[in-house]
Subunit: 79 residues, 10 copies
């Protein structure tokens, strides 16, 4: 079963462009865009399962310099 | 120039499934999913320009019963 | 793959006992306890996958009278 | 199509005057004023499109010393 | 001495267009626009002095149906 | 026309007495008192006009060591 | 020993003028003014002691129609 | 083992005196006082164990008319 | 007239025990306990009058290493 | 009487895996899992009584490097 999440990202002032560029190179990140509003960047991530998303976020996304805080919103297909 | 936004949606308790179903029928909403975390539903919307997104959100999304609050995050392509 | 979540629940004043009793009868809720602190009740839910958890929360938990707001925290096994 | 945004700016204590002066020299900033209330400075920015506003905010405004946090509010002409 | 303020406005869900239209007819409101982000509408008001702005906001703006909350940010010309 | 404002001040832990003493010497500050509750100090400032209050707050108050954050509440005489 | 407090007041939308007028008639309220920023009205109250201020706020101020929430900031003379 | 907690209570505007009076009659409430600051009333409760405190708060305190929200802070004797 | 206050204290991570021990030695602090919930420690302080409580909190409590933030809730005896 | 608590933990960006690993070795921690949503890790702790939980949290959990903030939610068995 595939898993998908929106990762809402707050970035240190002045680092938005760098964070977007770095995240575009992370495998499993299917899209990443700078946005207006309370968050600075929104990434969409897709992986085979929830645990792999956890690994991706805590290991490959949190390690990107300039990221201050992330909120991971996992999608659920309601029956 | 095409415009795209993530609409982060808080829903009245017990109305998530209804809101997802209603939004799937709204033209301009390219995806809509129930999510875990501080928001209940995230919709992705795409329109020819920002003003059309404003119309879509304030007229067609805000009128859906069960929606309590929305935050629109417009995407920006940094140069 | 099994999925598990902590559901942090805020309850209308005076309804804690009723909510705990009602949630104990919901299938898929493996434990439910009144707690001190910013939340009133914490339920642990387990289902075969994330989508089933979404159904459980939005259909069977949100429909319990007295629940004001829930935050679903999905567990992830990091590799 | 022209794009316009209000940029609500929080400034490090003691830096309001410096930030106002610096922003007055940024091209694309059509007005900038110190204000009372929860924000310290409000800038109005205008550019040919949303992406150019994104560049302006993340590159030319975020690089101004003393700016702690910005919230960009893009205007939308409702039909 | 002229006084000017940005009025940041939160609007009841579904009322943005009505509030914008109503505010366009209020004397002393020099511009009013729907916006993305944490506020729904931003109005710019100008009056001969601060007291007149107080009257305008508390009497003519607060009386508009659909407005839930306003934050008035008075501009100050630093010397 | 005279202008008056309440300046609600949050102070770094351990600096309340120093901030009160320093503000008592600032011209235009008509009273300054330590308070209980969410703020640590409240100063009342009076100047000939709003711009002079802006100068006073951003230049003479923000420069006081130990001040972490201020909220300026300008008074308005409603007609 | 005399006691003094600043009462920071949030008012229901459209009721600022009424609340100011009503508070001007309350004995023990030495000044009351509409303000810009996160609060709508600030009243200064003075009474012989803290308990009398408690009575004044909970009995005579809270009973004024249109008041949504108050924060009482008691002044303290540091030695 | 005895258990003790501070119950921080927010009260509906105008109900502070009534809530204090009602709580003084609740068995297990060892003190109750109106307070300044972000809470309106603080009650100290003591019971033989934590579960009895849970019963007291959710059954006997939450049922008092005028109470809007409570935060229970259980004391812990560190070794 | 005696004055009493609850001081709600947030402590730097890992410093709770040290702060409790240090506060137990402060004169005027009648009790101090580690607690669960949004605060880490609650101290009860008693002094001859409000000003002395102000001195105690800003001078003797705020100077304790490890304290990050305090909220002082003064008790009021309603008539 | 046994005591049990959910400890909701915020972790410094990039430290989730390390914190989970460290907590798994702490005696009295019966489970620890990385989670999505506003918290990063949730630990379940069980001890003979509330005081022992206080010791565990303030001494053995708070000392883990990478933990930024914890909220302890003690369970209560309602009668």
């Amino acid at each position: 079963m595939a898993a998908k999440a929106f990762v809402l990202i707050e970035v240190a002032v002045g680092k938005t462009k760098d964070v977007v560029t770095a995240l575009q190179r992370v495998k499993g990140v299917s899209s990443v865009e700078a946005v207006t509003g309370p968050y600075d960047v929104i990434a969409v991530v897709e992986k085979p399962d929830v645990n792999a998303i956890g690994d991706l976020v805590t290991r490959n996304i949190h390690s990107v310099s300039g990221i201050a805080r992330t909120v991971t919103c996992l999608t659920m297909q309601l029956g």
